[in-house]
């Protein structure tokens, strides 16, 4: 009986590749694998956006209009709807001159109760240190 903590670290720009979408869908899907594990075994995912990856968290993405693909914004909201821990690197948010208002911080419009957290790099590092597996996207 054990919990495996997985940290999904998103450093890629949105829409340049499928990397950030894969991170989000894998983090969400990790919540279903317990049905295939031994009784009591669990998976705890953490999603952290760092570097250029913080731009995935911008509000009002017009992905369908600009690129003809579904928006990552909805995937991030779905992560919050499913109570995943979502962290956005504070230093990188500041480096891009972004404010909290510009970022997807909640999913209240779809019934979500969990908020994203703009966290200092050292907090994200602590999450990474305490994770069993690090997955970089």
């Amino acid at each position: 009986m054990a919990t495996k903590k997985l940290a999904f670290i998103v450093k890629s720009l949105p829409y340049k590749t499928e990397a950030s979408r894969l991170a989000l869908t894998h983090a969400i899907a990790s919540q279903t694998v317990e049905i295939y594990l031994e009784d009591g075994d669990m998976v705890e995912p953490v999603l952290a956006f760092m570097g250029d990856g913080v731009l995935n968290c911008l509000k009002n993405q017009k992905a369908m209009t600009l690129y003809g693909v579904t928006s990552l914004e909805q995937h991030i909201k779905n992560s919050l709807l499913l109570d995943l821990k979502v962290m956005i690197c504070k230093e990188d948010v500041e480096r891009f001159g972004l404010s909290e208002d510009a970022l997807i911080m909640d999913a209240e419009d779809i019934g979500g109760e969990t908020n994203a957290n703009i966290a200092p790099f050292n907090e994200i590092m602590k999450e990474m240190d305490s994770s069993d597996h690090l997955l970089f996207f």
């Binding site: 899907a29 279903t32 295939y36």
Partner: protein, 81 residues
């Protein structure tokens, strides 16, 4: 009609149009909030979720489960133990 499908559900969860893994994770989230003994009715049109992952989840948790197949979707009844 089965025992669960004839009961009045405490909640109806509509995941029609949602594909794997959302039906299962939304069902799990809803089940966590239900009191013991309560029945949830899940409307689902994703075959992999309705016929595999959600029944497997219910079995693993020891929850009672019934499935009613309709034209193009399933009614899934789960009772929390």
């Amino acid at each position: 009609m089965g025992e669960l499908s004839s009961a009045t559900p405490a909640q109806t969860l509509d995941v029609l149009g949602r594909v794997c893994p959302y039906p299962l994770v939304l069902t799990k989230k809803a089940m966590e909030k239900l009191p013991s003994g309560a029945v949830i009715k899940v409307l689902c049109d994703a075959p992999a979720s309705a016929e595999d992952s959600i029944p497997r989840y219910a079995e693993k948790q020891g929850f009672k489960f019934e499935s009613v197949k309709n034209e193009g979707y399933w009614e899934l009844y789960i009772q929390k133990k």
